[in-house]
Every structure is written in structure tokens, then in C-alpha cells.
């Protein structure tokens, strides 16, 4: 191919049409598929066989480290500067519980959100698809299926015809 292609972008009118098309494309043997929609669509991830995200594990690790950090920090400050307050215990776990809880939440939430952005490759300023004519409607009322040019079965003309057959209202070739 003369120009380096990113892929073909097919536009659909409804989430149902998109999901049906994605299913047929999978069945036809396409593997490098991605969909672009204005809101999350139930079942689409399963149709596209996207791997289950592991954000929850990041959150668990973040939460545990927050809790542990808070605990050790409070123990250390009381060890390093022991202050006798009416004979109450220095390592007062019931008193430490509040900050431990807060930091559990803080570390967990922030690590999940950072992990989500990281794994999504965001933030980034530009993306090949932003150049597509119709793509601005992906955040409004259109549902797009993209077949990547790196797909083994990708052939510009044949794939384009295939997507037309699936009922796409427009098919656009996107350069890299």
C-alpha cells in the first residue's frame, strides 16, 4: 500500500447495529477490531473478546499499601516521639484506624484512576482516528467499528465492501 493505513472506520446508527456488525466481523475472521461509542455498551466487550481489565487488582494493591503505610507511619511517629497522654497506650490501634481507613481509600482510588488512564494510553493529544471525517459523532450519536490495517485479513477494498454489507452508513479509510 502506498499510504500507511490505520484502518477502516465503519459508522453505524445504533448500538445494536454495531454489536451485530462486530459479531459478524469476528465470525468472518477479523481480529484487530475496536469500537467507538458515545457511552459504554453492554455486551460489546464480550463480542469483541476484550480481555477483562485488571483495575480491581491495582485498587486492591493500592488499598493495602495505603493501609500499611498509614499504620507504619503512625507507629513510627509515636515510637520516635513518645508522648504520654494520661497513660494511654502509645500504639493505640483504635485511634490509628481513622487515618488507616482514609489512606486505604485514597491510595486505592487514585491508583485505580491512574491505572485506568495508563492502560488506556491517556492522556494523549492526538490519535489517527481524530482525522476521520465522521469521527466527531462518536461522542454524540454514532457508533463506529474500526478494523485495524494490521489485521491479517485486512484488505482495503474487500474489507470495505464487507463493512458496507454489514449495514454501515459510511465507511472511511483512516491514514496513520
Amino acid at each position: 500500500m502506498a499510504e500507511r493505513a490505520y484502518g477502516l472506520l465503519a459508522e453505524f446508527e445504533s448500538p445494536e447495529a454495531l454489536t451485530a456488525a462486530a459479531k459478524k466481523a469476528r465470525e468472518a475472521g477479523y481480529r484487530r477490531l475496536d469500537a467507538f461509542t458515545p457511552f459504554p455498551i453492554e455486551g460489546l466487550a464480550r463480542t469483541l473478546r476484550l480481555p477483562r481489565p485488571k483495575i480491581s487488582w491495582v485498587g486492591l494493591i493500592g488499598g493495602c499499601s495505603g493501609c500499611g503505610f498509614a499504620f507504619l507511619m503512625q507507629c513510627f511517629t509515636n515510637y520516635d516521639f513518645p508522648l504520654n497522654v494520661g497513660g494511654r497506650p502509645l500504639y493505640a490501634f483504635s485511634a490509628f484506624a481513622v487515618v488507616m481507613f482514609e489512606l486505604t481509600i485514597l491510595f486505592s482510588a487514585l491508583s485505580m484512576i491512574v491505572a485506568m488512564l495508563w492502560q488506556n494510553g491517556l492522556p494523549r493529544l492526538n490519535y489517527p482516528l481524530f482525522a476521520a471525517e465522521q469521527f466527531h459523532r462518536a461522542s454524540k450519536d454514532r457508533f463506529f467499528l474500526c478494523v485495524g490495517a494490521d489485521d491479517g485479513k485486512f484488505d482495503k477494498d474487500r474489507t470495505s465492501g464487507f463493512l458496507q454489507e454489514l449495514g454501515a452508513s459510511s465507511v472511511e479509510s483512516v491514514g496513520r
Binding site: F36, P38, P53, N78, D80, L106, N120, A138, S139
Partner: protein, 450 residues
């Protein structure tokens, strides 16, 4: 609960909703009214700044506080503002987890309200420090004097709780905002808007893989935010309950505070919802059904707060402690009885009108009741603070508290501190969640077709 399948009128298109909502920042429809509101808010903010300069120059003596009432407006308004903030998180997080889809029209501005209310709350303890430039002493850093903050004190828990709450609220709010900023970016035609939304939307493109990770992160953060809200206001109540002052030292305080917080917060959410929908013509998205549900939540949380009042009296009577009984009598008949009875009247009397459906569904009536609740909760916080302190254990130290001009100017100033960024947010970002509204609309349409 009402039938949730038709909370939004289904005769509107998804694209239409998207255009309508992105159009608010991009082609602002109410410039003149916004400017007037902004002028008013800026004057209040100016008053706040003048008050703070005066405070930093002359010290906390400019307020009416003195022994024994050394916690007055600063902590009173701190609790009040923080409580208002909590409803935003409850609406967006708790109702997300329970899949109450009516939240989708309310969550964005409710969360925005949370952010700025927490800032107003958080600034008060700093102002109250006396020497606010030593704020960093609250953080554990290796100091030359080899001292550390005292983690066994509720006052130290406070800063961790509030900062965590502020940070997590901001992260949650922004995560939910990213897809909408992308929608606004795609609708923007002017260069400045394209750059602004292009950068703030972080390059969001709505990929299925992205949505999958986003949903997981968003839902899990919501799951964390719910216990966070409960913990933050419980922790605030421990500032009181962990001391032995009569009228504070009670196990009912954490739930009592959390319920009161939700109560006042939902009142403010109602006020904002009613104002915004008439201001921007959003009756198709913030419907009478939404007001109906808000009214129901308001009366439910109100009655739970009332239970707190009843139990507080029971607690004092059951303890048989002379000082507890004295404080109870002081609250009902003492110098500040007006705050006690004022709180009861403003909080619970107009509230009863919400038993009628027509009242819940009529904007201005719900608005009046909400304003009454906000005043009532303000009086309640005043009552809890001052009536417990002005007559403590030693008769020789009894004294009164009278707010000074600077007390009032700082308080009204914080309203400006809240309104200015809130009005800016209305002006610059979509104030109703676009993609969640579209999603709900799509689901409704699907149900319609069978």
C-alpha cells in the same frame, strides 16, 4: 420508588441531548443573568478576602470567640459546609451502585457542589488555627525539633479525612467528566474551546476497551466513595464526641452527623437542580419526577435526622448525668434556646409538606422547603457548638458567645467562595452528564420497543 423506566421523556434524540448540553458552555444561553450572579458572588468573595486579610493581620480575636466558647463559627460552618458536600458524593456514588438511573441528570452538578463545598469547609479550620502559616505542622515531616503530629488526636485525623475526601472527590468527578469533555471538544467550533476541551479531555475517544477499564475504575471508586463519605462525617463528629464535653460525648454523634449532612446536602442539591433547570431550560432532563425523588430523599433523611434529635434527648435522660441534663435544659430553655427551637422548626415543620406529591413536584415549593432545611441545619450546628460550650463544668468559666461583624462577613464570604467557582463551572463545563443521559435515554428507548 416511581417507575424508573420513563424518568426522561423518550421523545428526544440522543444527538439532541448532546447538542443541548454541550451547547451550554459552547453557546452560553444566559450571559446576562450569569454576569449578574457572578457580580453578586464576586462581591461576596471580595468580602471573604477582606475578612481573611483582617483576620491574618489582627488574629482570631476579631471573632467573638473566647474561653469557654472558643469553637464557634469556624467549626460550626466547617461542619455545615462539609455536610452539604456529602450529598453530592452520595448521589453520584451510592445511587450509581444501586443503579438508580435518575441520578444521571443530577450527579455532575451535585459532585461539583461537593468539591467547592469541601473547599469552603476545609478553609475554616485553617483560618481558625490562629497562626495559619503553620498549617504544615499538621503533616508528618522530619522537623528540626524532632516532633511529629499527634495521631491519637481527632484534630489530626481531621486533616487526613478532609484532604482524602477532597482528593478522591476531585478524582471521581474528573473521571466522570472526561467523556463529556471529549463530547464538548467534538462539538466545539472555536479554536479556544477546541484547545481547552482538547487538553482537558485527555484524548478520550470512546474506545470499547477504554470504556471497559473506565467503567471498572469508575464503579470501584464509587464503591470506595460511599464508605468514605460516612467515615469523613463520622470523623468530624468524633472531633466532638471524643471529648468529654456534655452534649457532645455521645455514641449517637457519628450517625446523627452523617444523616444531618445528607439532609442538608440534598436540600442544596434540590436548590441547585431547581435553579439550573429553570435557568437553562432543562426541564426535559431534570424532570418533575427528579424533584419528586429528591423530595422523598429529603423527607427520609430529615426523619432520620429527627431520630437523632430524639435519641440525643433520650441519651441525656438515660445517662442521668447532672451535666448532661444541665446541657439538655440549657439547649431547650437557655440563652440559645432560639437555636434549638429554630433548628426544629426550620428543619422539620415545613418538611412535612413533602408528604404531598404535588409539593414535591412543584419547583418553588420544594425550593422553599430546601432553603428552610439549609437554615435549620445551620442553626443546628450553631446549637451543637455553642450550647455545649457556653456552660461547661465550672460555673466560674461560664460565658456567652456573640458573633461579631467579622464572624458574619467571613461566613457570608464563604458563600462567595462557593458560588464563584461553581458559576465558573456552569459556564465552562457540561453541568449534566451527557453520556450517562444518552445511555439512559437509549435504554428507555429500547424498553419502549420491547
Amino acid at each position: 420508588m416511581t417507575d424508573q423506566s420513563d424518568i426522561l421523556p423518550v421523545n428526544q434524540s440522543m444527538g439532541g441531548v448532546s447538542d443541548q448540553l454541550t451547547g451550554i458552555p459552547l453557546h452560553f444561553p444566559a450571559e446576562r443573568r450569569w454576569l449578574i450572579a457572578m457580580l453578586f458572588a464576586s462581591l461576596l468573595l471580595l468580602m471573604f478576602m477582606v475578612s481573611v486579610v483582617e483576620l491574618f493581620t489582627r488574629g482570631v480575636g476579631i471573632w467573638g470567640i473566647n474561653i469557654p466558647v472558643n469553637w464557634a463559627f469556624a467549626i460550626h460552618n466547617y461542619v455545615w459546609w462539609l455536610g452539604i458536600g456529602h450529598a453530592g458524593t452520595l448521589i453520584s456514588a451510592l445511587l450509581l451502585l444501586t443503579q438508580s438511573e435518575w441520578r444521571n441528570s443530577l450527579n455532575r452538578f451535585a459532585e461539583t457542589m461537593t468539591l467547592f463545598a469541601v473547599i469552603c469547609a476545609g478553609i475554616y479550620p485553617v483560618l481558625h488555627l490562629g497562626r495559619p502559616w503553620y498549617l504544615y505542622w499538621m503533616f508528618p515531616y522530619p522537623a528540626t525539633m524532632n516532633v511529629w503530629p499527634q495521631f491519637r488526636s481527632p484534630l489530626e485525623w481531621d486533616i487526613w479525612a478532609v484532604l482524602t475526601y477532597l482528593t478522591v472527590s476531585f478524582a471521581f468527578w474528573y473521571t466522570g467528566l472526561i467523556p463529556d469533555l471529549a463530547a464538548a471538544r467534538d462539538r466545539a467550533t472555536k479554536r479556544g474551546w477546541q484547545i481547552f476541551f482538547g487538553i482537558t479531555s485527555l484524548g478520550w475517544r470512546g474506545s470499547a476497551a477504554h470504556w471497559l477499564r473506565w467503567s471498572q475504575a469508575y464503579r470501584l471508586t464509587a464503591g470506595l466513595a460511599v464508605p468514605l463519605v460516612v467515615s469523613v462525617h463520622s470523623e468530624v463528629s468524633l472531633l466532638f464526641a471524643a471529648g468529654q464535653i456534655p452534649g457532645w460525648h455521645s455514641t449517637i454523634f457519628p450517625p446523627y452527623f452523617v444523616m444531618g449532612a445528607a439532609f442538608s446536602g440534598f436540600a442544596v442539591v434540590s436548590i441547585i437542580a431547581i435553579s439550573l433547570r429553570s435557568w437553562f431550560g432543562l426541564k426535559n432532563l431534570v424532570t418533575d419526577d427528579h424533584l419528586d425523588l429528591l423530595g422523598m430523599v429529603l423527607i427520609a433523611t430529615g426523619l432520620m435526622t429527627a431520630y437523632g434529635y430524639v435519641f440525643e434527648i433520650f441519651d441525656a435522660l438515660y445517662s442521668g448525668d447532672a451535666h448532661e441534663l444541665q446541657t439538655l435544659a440549657d439547649r431547650m430553655t437557655g440563652a440559645y434556646a432560639w437555636t434549638y427551637w429554630g433548628a426544629i422548626v426550620f428543619n422539620f415543620i415545613p418538611l412535612q409538606a413533602l408528604w404531598w406529591r404535588i409539593v414535591r413536584r412543584t419547583g418553588w415549593m420544594l425550593m422553599l422547603i430546601s432553603i428552610s432545611v439549609v437554615i435549620g441545619m445551620w442553626l443546628e450546628r450553631y446549637m451543637i457548638l455553642v450550647t455545649s460550650l457556653y456552660r461547661d463544668f465550672l460555673v466560674s468559666s461560664w460565658s456567652h458567645f456573640t458573633p461579631t461583624f467579622w464572624d458574619w462577613s467571613t461566613y457570608f464570604g464563604t458563600i462567595g467562595l462557593f458560588l464563584v467557582p461553581f458559576l465558573l463551572a456552569i459556564r465552562f463545563i457540561p453541568m449534566i452528564s451527557i453520556f450517562e443521559t444518552e445511555e439512559l435515554l437509549h435504554e428507555e428507548k429500547e424498553e419502549e420497543h420491547g
